[in-house]
């Protein structure tokens, strides 16, 4: 680990598209290198009625200085049902509107699982299952992420928040 800023605090987030619904999920660990300090540190913020963002990387940069953070942005147009999922690295390279995006120390593991569970045009329940399983199993492979998962599923008429308890280590 040494002094790699992006893995100093740990953490991971995933965003996935469904049919007229989007989901974003993150883990809850806050640590300093190999020490876990707290297990209630969620990384998702609401920027609008149908827009959520997540930042993974150096904890101090959250919300006040986008330097050592990778970002995820999701959104939903409540009238048309059009879905948006974008991710960005720390120097502002933004992806196209993708089906699946991950950021954080366990992003590679969750990408693999996400690609496996993703199907086009999933409904909200299937989307929740795919997102949750990708995250729950992906974080078990990364020592710097985990201690629970928070999942937001955004649909045209509601936003559902669920907290999942996985392996508490």
């Amino acid at each position: 680990m040494g002094d790699d800023m992006m893995s100093y605090n740990g953490g991971v987030a995933l965003a996935m598209k469904g049919k007229e619904c989007v989901a974003i999920a993150c883990d809850k660990r806050y640590g300093v290198q190999n020490r876990t300090i707290a297990t209630n540190f969620t990384k998702i913020f609401q920027y609008g009625d149908y827009c959520f963002v997540s930042f993974c990387g150096l904890a101090t940069d959250r919300r006040f200085g986008p330097y050592f953070v990778f970002s995820l942005v999701i959104g939903l147009d409540p009238k048309t049902g059009e879905t948006f999922v974008y991710d960005s690295d720390n120097i502002g390279a933004i992806s196209d509107n993708v089906n699946l995006a991950t950021v954080g120390t366990a992003s590679d593991y969750i990408f693999g699982l996400g690609e496996l569970f993703f199907k086009p045009n999933m409904n909200a329940d299937e989307l929740f299952e795919a997102t949750s399983q990708s995250l729950l199993n992906g974080v078990d492979r990364d020592s710097a992420s985990g201690w629970g998962v928070l999942v937001y599923v955004v649909e045209k008429d509601k936003v559902t928040v669920r907290e999942l308890k996985g392996r508490q280590d």
């Binding site: 605090n9 300093v32 020490r35 300090i37 707290a38 209630n40 904890a59 101090t60 959250r62 006040f64």
Partner: protein, 226 residues
């Protein structure tokens, strides 16, 4: 890193503890009654540890600004507001000419009856990352305090239980830390405000004498006179 600051949150109170040593050059114990607590408002206080000058400069700056708010607006900032203001100052100064190598614990009791969680406890590190938890600590004591807290903390913790937990932590620090905490200052913040409790000391370590058998060598056991 050598200085210890610990916070434990209970049902309607927060207990704050700090070691009272000042060490110089890695080996000299200069002072046994160092104060690391800075009052922010009637029901909110901050413990700070780290680079000596930075600790005082930053804590006084934040403390005075919070008092200034009270003077201008006639109302005190809530612990939540104090903590977030402090974090913001730490984060903005991180990338400026003057950054502060200070780790902080902000604790308070909210006077707003509508608050769900009245006793509040936050830890802010020197990079400006803030987290809230039931047991927080900075420095090498983190290894002991967090682990003992995981084991002993429970919902609706009473003051006695919190102080017993703290005594366990202090004993462990006394046993295992080379930087022995001669004295630990303890304060409590609750509905009545900030109060100082009795000092806490690590329990004396009794070690059994080495046995006489160890004084024997194999040469002693040989009979050289035959």
């Amino acid at each position: 890193m050598v200085e210890s600051i610990i916070g434990i949150r209970g049902k309607d109170f927060v207990v704050l503890a700090q070691d009272a040593n000042t060490t110089k050059y890695g080996i000299l114990n200069m002072k046994f009654d160092t104060n690391r607590l800075f009052k922010l408002s009637e029901h909110c206080a901050m413990l700070a540890a780290g680079e000596p000058g930075d600790v005082v400069q930053f804590s006084e700056y934040v403390g005075k600004n919070i008092q200034l708010y009270k003077m201008i607006n006639g109302i005190e900032l809530s612990p939540y507001a104090c903590a977030n203001f402090t974090r913001h100052e730490m984060a903005t100064s991180l990338r400026s000419r003057n950054s502060f190598l200070a780790n902080l614990i902000v604790a308070g009791y909210s006077t707003n009856e509508h608050d769900q969680q009245r006793a509040q406890l936050y830890a802010i590190d020197y990079l400006g990352a803030m987290v809230t938890s039931n047991v927080v600590a900075h420095g090498f004591c983190q290894f002991f305090a967090l682990a003992i807290g995981d084991r002993l903390w429970k919902e609706d913790l009473t003051v006695q239980e919190a102080l017993a937990m703290l005594q366990t932590i202090v004993n462990e620090m006394g046993k295992r830390m080379a930087a022995y905490p001669h004295c630990v200052f303890v304060r409590i913040i609750d509905a009545k405000g900030i109060r100082v409790l009795d000092n806490m000391y690590p329990e004396k370590i009794i070690v059994t004498k080495p046995s006489e058998l160890e004084l024997q060598t194999s040469a002693d056991m040989m009979d050289i006179h035959s």
